[in-house]
């Protein structure tokens, strides 16, 4: 996982799946009121630990952008009934 900061954004590039290990690492990053931008180009899936993590951030008004999430991410959200709860138009970037 790589990350870099600029003035108002923390960008995280994942090298694999978005799982518990990645969640723990992101939790330890200095978010400092910045928008969180996660590049999921290399991920095959986003698991429920990651979805729960993102859901809590969204509930706390954190601005999140997910770049190129895998198809399975949308399927997981649908199964969990969150696809209509999350504002995917503003969260997902292709």
């Amino acid at each position: 996982m790589h990350y870099h900061k600029n003035t108002n954004r923390l960008t995280v590039e994942l090298q694999g799946n978005f799982n518990l290990d990645v969640v723990r690492k992101i939790e330890n990053l200095p978010l400092e009121q910045k928008d969180l931008y996660i590049d999921l180009e290399q991920s095959r899936f986003v698991d429920t630990e990651a979805i729960i993590f993102l859901h809590k951030l969204i509930q706390n008004q954190q601005v999140i952008r997910l770049k190129n999430p895998p198809k399975l991410f949308f399927e997981a959200l649908r199964i969990l009934g969150l696809h209509k709860v999350w504002d995917l138009k503003n969260i997902v970037e292709r």
Binding site: G16, N17, N19, L20, D21, R24, R44, F45, D47, T48, E49, I51, I52, H55, K56, Q59, P70, K71, L72, E75, A76, I79, L80, G81, L82, V85
Partner: protein, 489 residues
């Protein structure tokens, strides 16, 4: 390719395990999207184990990767804190109202797999079984080859050549099956040329293919080698309809028996569905003898011409042909089935050494060893007891308890006849509604086993068709024992 992982339940294990799982699935022919789904299910279970099964201690997880094409199965075992998935049901309403995601991971596991089983194995730990079928998307690969094939009516003068099957024949076999049965053939993996090619290449099966002088494949018959014994099952027999009644089945069976002998195969099984007696007659003509009748063991063939009744799961008659001339069974016969088993052995005219419990010096009977497997589509479970140890009954009780919540049609259990006295084990199983299944010669590690069966659905034995006198006697014996059980249905 089967695989096994033994690992510490640690957060750092998640990515390597899921990476391996995905690669294994795709290597086994699973479509990438479905491989990702299956992998996510494994990720969810492994994560739950790391978080909840071993919250403080160091613990270990075992993962088995198995296949029975077209199905892949992953079994995960751990021995951490007690847990029952039924107590963790996901509710989207709870998420919205309270932010409570309890059961979210298990919800994905259930929805992203074809079968998900949880087995509480008592002190042997907890077991999670995930299974997923290879997609029928791959079937479409065959269709493109079907168009443009000249019709068989165009070829009138038939003369045939029998050749050993090679991996290059896999595509022709898929076409042959398609032309003969459309998509209704029960051995689904034959529609996947790559899977069949792999099975032939890896020596899991061998067989013969019949071609006309024009090179058209018109017949195919194989021996599928057992994974834990030097025996095989004759099967996957097909003859293209215009070429039937020309003696091709007979020629192919002779060829298979010769090929098996050359390869050191010690015996051949023929599993004949009892919705008709055609296969039974073929087996009998080649010297096979019926040894077991497995009731409610399969959903049955999809061959529409044979199925006249769909009111109950189908049964299979087990026929056996010994090829090893040095087969000298030395066995302990349980009291309950002593004379019937003796009669079954007699039909093979082999020298039988019947051992008595009093002759047995146990030394250390050792640990009870039993292995459980499922055939999900048939709703059946099979337990193989490789050693009846000193704690057989408590291990069997624990195993049966773990199966109580599973929706099954039948459970089979194989009890070794050659290792040690088995009377106590057989009597315990009988008290737990297991009845006779039959003799299974050389079935595991070239040793003979007694197969018992617990039938969990109502069965009308009149619908089970058998051909030979021996098979009829076997059917009556099992039917009488079945009807003597107190009915629970």
């Amino acid at each position: 390719m089967e695989a096994y992982l033994y690992l510490e339940a640690h957060i750092k294990a998640i990515e390597p395990v899921t990476d391996f799982t995905y690669r294994w699935c795709t290597a086994m022919g699973m479509h990438r999207d479905e491989a990702a789904q299956f992998t996510l299910a494994v990720d969810e279970l492994l994560t739950d184990m790391i978080l909840f099964a071993y919250p403080e201690d160091v613990g270990y997880v075992e993962i088995w990767y198995r296949y029975s094409l077209p199905q892949l199965e992953i079994i995960i075992q751990e021995s951490g804190e007690p847990f029952d998935p039924e107590n963790y049901r996901y509710s989207p309403d709870k998420v919205l109202a309270e932010g409570d995601f309890t059961g979210a991971g298990l919800e994905l596991v259930r929805k992203l797999t074809d079968h998900f089983l949880f087995l509480n194995r008592g002190r042997d730990g907890k077991e999670f079984r995930l299974a997923k079928q290879l997609s029928e998307k791959d079937y479409s690969d065959i269709q493109q080859y079907i168009d443009g094939i000249p019709s068989e009516a165009e070829e009138e003068n038939f003369s045939y050549t029998l050749m050993p099957v090679t991996k290059e024949d896999a595509e022709d076999i898929a076409k042959l099956i398609y032309r003969s049965y459309d998509y209704s053939y029960s051995k689904e993996d034959l529609y996947f040329p790559k899977q069949n090619e792999m099975a032939i290449e890896h020596g899991k099966k061998f067989g013969t293919i019949v071609r006309t002088t024009q090179g058209r494949p018109v017949g195919y018959f194989t021996v599928i080698k057992a994974s834990d014994s030097l025996i095989g099952e004759v099967g996957e027999a097909v003859v293209s309809p215009p070429h039937r009644k020309r003696g091709l089945m007979k020629r192919m069976m002779n060829e298979l028996i010769n090929m098996s002998k050359k390869r050191g195969i010690m015996g051949l099984y023929g599993l004949a569905l009892t919705v008709h007696t055609i296969s039974q007659k073929v087996n009998q003509a080649f010297g096979f003898h019926s040894t077991a009748l497995l009731v409610a063991i399969t959903r049955g063939s999809k061959h529409k011409e044979f199925i006249t009744d769909n009111s109950q799961p189908k049964s299979i008659l087990v026929d056996f042909l010994p090829l090893n001339k040095n087969w000298n069974p030395s066995v302990f016969l349980p009291d309950r089935y002593h004379s019937f088993l003796q009669k079954q052995y007699r039909q093979f005219q082999v020298p039988l050494d019947i051992r008595e419990a009093s002759d047995y010096w146990p030394g250390n009977p050792g640990k009870t060893e039993m292995q459980l497997s499922f055939t999900y589509k048939n709703k059946t479970a099979k337990i193989v007891v490789s050693n009846i140890g000193d704690r057989f009954i408590s291990s069997a009780e624990s195993m049966m308890r773990s199966l109580e919540e599973v929706d099954l049609h039948a459970i089979c259990i194989d009890i070794p006849l050659e290792n040690s006295p088995n009377n106590e084990a057989v009597e315990w199983l009988h008290r737990n509604r297991f009845i006779f299944g039959g003799l299974m010669p050389m079935i595991h590690k070239e040793k003979d086993y007694l197969r018992l069966q617990k039938i969990l659905v109502p069965i009308n034995f009149d619908l089970i068709q058998v051909h030979s006198e021996t098979a009829e006697e076997l059917k009556n014996f099992i039917s009488e024992e079945y009807h003597a059980l107190p009915q629970e249905y």
